[in-house]
Symmetry: C2
Subunit: 476 residues, 2 copies
């Protein structure tokens, strides 16, 4: 009964995926809407996931020499305007501060939508010699983009992210860092979030405002839509020329630096939900689960049950573990643990204690495993490791099963309408074909993957000779 | 020569303390000015100190049951206005967003100067029953206050901080949390930052806009000025009534919640500089030093020297340790290590290697200690522990030596002009006396300390019967 009540509150994902998503976000207590239109409050459980993402990503950054800094949240209008493509891309969607205290400002300031211009302004004064290079800086902060339509985690007017901004002596070195960070992102998604991604390059149409090249990782959600999950940009010396960032090289010549930037956001939490979730709620990969093990006592009023639950918790202290000792029914507790996607639940009651065992239930497969109490730590560790691996493989299998090949427009249309997912197809390289596919099918080029395949000789759209294999899809 | 060059660039603290401070901030590479007036860029070394503060403070928070969340950075004007005293206190110094994208907003938004109103708006919908209480939330973020005069770390238009916001079923519980967090702050300052603080209550004149009671920790800087280093506020049910935050209690009656808030900021880095620094630069307490040990090879081109330096670094991997293997002279490296306040430097050269020893030099005392290589880890640990303790005791001795007693206005004036520091004096409790002291001597009541003393029977200002002993001082 209790279980039913909580689960009834969620729409089935097959019935209405968007509503299912919103239900999970709310019922798992990740986010709450606020009085500030388009801005969300991230609740403790949602924020705890973000902290685990932050910590593990930051460690990986630092291993590659990244240093964290903090730049102002405001950008003077004149600074934003220095790089032509960049301002065109961002000006339409920034929030403007026009008054400070009781007085109007002499120059209005935008709230950073991204901080290339601030880092350039900083590097201009901070870089003098080749000895000052490379600069490999990153910041964790929030940014603002005045979106018209918003969705929790996926698109909101303010979101949390990290943005790396680097400066290098040569184009080669900048390109190397751009690719290095993209691969770091991809490995992180696969190893920590159990989320397989396609690594590739954006077409010119889809690249970042001001970038020479944008690389992306693209993940496939359960409903067959793509989600851009991280990007890494090579700016060449475009920003350096616009801002005058020069250094004296070893040969004593004055040269412009080459720059990159790269970012991942709280949107990753949306990706976790849509890749792993099911009709009982969230399913969290163990490495980003704020609680990895929930111990649920059965008949907890019977003597010794709660004591044993606490004893098991103490023995499992190497994990993120809790005991649900509230006065709710076990069924209710089960469905809460499932809704919140806690990877393992340990059931322990009088009979179990007598038999010297407990039951471990895996959230992803719902498999119930009898475990002897003396083996608990070892088994829990094994099961969490296995679950982390299985979740990645399951997501990969789903992605692969929802990746099709199209060689002409009829096929492309048929697949997009009847078999949601990635579509691999050849492309001539002309933006006109991209535009046409977008207009006709509301699908975009997700990326030109690093792993190219030869599917046919001609462009899926115009039939002219093909240059690149592209992943296409409808996207969040 | 090299050493001289770097040190020459710093003004002596006795000559011009303000200039000395600015020099240290710049030369130790903590901060850089930006094109955004009143906003600073926190550089890697400065930000690394903040990360160490954050990590250790956050751990202490979580031990007391604090959960982290994230609220929007914008506050709609109507929301800010709900609590009368609060809006009066903050409206004159907020930044206003009036345009989103290309269109004017229907209601302008301020960039949060503090988030009481946002948390209240959230709690209003999130709290229903006594079962939902207490709520003990915190967020790490940046806030904006449109200050006219700014100084690195101490006062800037944007700064980083944490703000805790809690809701409780009773006034007693709220008061308990207010005091608990103040004591947590004080212990943190003493144990981690080696900075002694006075714990006390603010007078009504100095309390937070909208608070029923504000508690504070006050530290004394090297120049005898006070620095408010953390505050904790009890709001009673004032905000709850303004926002309508009610819950059904165990007795089935609808009641208002009682709330608190508490915060510490990047200003703590300014405090570290001004409490511990000297004429050679920064002196960092080991617990917040991004690099605790700098190994400086002597005659590093001689065979085996660099190898030994790296071997020592590997042996010291339990500490935050680096080798300075740049091609600068040892003297230059010494002065850089001193400027950056790195607690210990290890000097190792060919003669040391032959003799099986190295030299440890303590940053605070400049004491040189010969250490046998096989004892290095043990000695380094001992010296860092000792240094952490000594720095606290030295700061405490300085604070105590710069704390005086005044029983009348003539004494108060004499002390404030000739012996900068805290002045303890009795007070009648009337704001008129506070106003007069502020007007005449530019000194403010810092706090009514928890540890009250009876210094005299009458108010230092008006001569009427005294009610409280107050710490007075000129403050940052």
């Amino acid at each position: 009964m209790a279980e039913k009540k909580l689960v009834e509150a969620i729409t089935s994902m097959d019935e209405d995926f968007a509503q299912w998503y919103t239900d999970v976000v709310k019922k798992a207590e990740l986010i709450e809407y606020t009085s500030v239109k388009g801005c969300m409050a991230i609740k403790p459980y949602g924020y705890a996931i973000w902290e685990l993402i932050q910590k593990q990503l930051d460690e990986r950054f630092k291993e590659t020499g990244v240093e964290n800094v903090y730049m102002p949240m405001f950008i003077p209008e004149s600074l934003l305007q220095k790089e032509k493509d960049h301002v065109e891309g961002f000006a339409p969607e920034v929030a403007w501060v026009t008054h400070g205290g009781l007085a109007p400002l002499q120059e209005r300031l935008c709230v950073r939508p991204t901080s290339e211009t601030l880092f350039c302004d900083f590097y201009k004064n901070d870089i003098h010699s080749y000895r000052d290079l490379p600069k490999v800086y990153n910041q964790w902060c929030s940014v603002v983009r005045w979106e018209k339509e918003t969705r929790p985690f996926l698109r909101s007017r303010e979101f949390l992210w990290q943005e790396g901004h680097t400066a290098h002596a040569t184009m080669e070195e900048a390109e190397e860092r751009t690719i290095q960070m993209l691969n770091l992102y991809a490995d992180f998604c696969e190893e920590v979030l159990a989320m397989p991604v396609i690594r590739g390059k954006k077409t010119d149409k889809e690249k970042f405002a001001g970038a020479e090249a944008t690389y992306t990782i693209e993940a496939l959600m359960h409903d067959g839509k793509a989600l851009q999950s991280g990007t890494s940009h090579n700016f060449g010396d475009g920003f350096a020329k616009a801002f005058g960032i020069q250094f004296t090289d070893k040969d004593n010549k004055l040269k412009y630096v080459y720059q990159t930037s790269w970012g991942m956001t709280t949107r990753l939490i949306g990706a976790i939900i849509m890749v792993h979730g099911d009709n009982s709620g969230l399913v969290l990969p163990p490495r980003v689960a704020p609680v990895q093990i929930m111990i649920i006592p059965i008949q907890q009023k019977k003597e010794g049950v709660l004591e044993m639950a606490y004893a098991l918790r103490d023995r499992l202290s190497g994990f993120r573990v809790k005991v649900d000792d509230t006065d709710k029914s076990p069924g209710w507790k089960f469905s809460e643990q499932e809704m919140r996607g806690i990877p393992i639940r340990v059931e322990i009651g009088p009979k179990d204690i007598e038999a010297g065992r407990c039951v471990i239930c895996r959230r992803d497969t719902r498999e119930k495993i009898e475990v002897r109490l003396e083996e608990l730590e070892e088994k829990a560790d094994e099961i969490l490791e296995q679950m982390q691996k299985d979740m990645l493989e399951r997501a990969r299998a789903h992605r692969d099963a929802h990746t099709s090949v199209a060689t002409n427009m009829a096929e492309l249309e048929d697949i997009l309408n009847n078999r949601p997912g990635f579509v691999k197809a050849m492309w001539c390289g002309d933006q006109a074909c991209e535009d046409q596919i977008k207009e006709k099918f509301a699908a975009t080029s997700r990326c030109m993957p690093f792993k190219q395949e030869h599917l046919s000789d001609t462009c899926v759209c115009c039939g002219k000779p093909a240059k690149k294999m592209v992943y296409w899809g409808r996207a969040y």
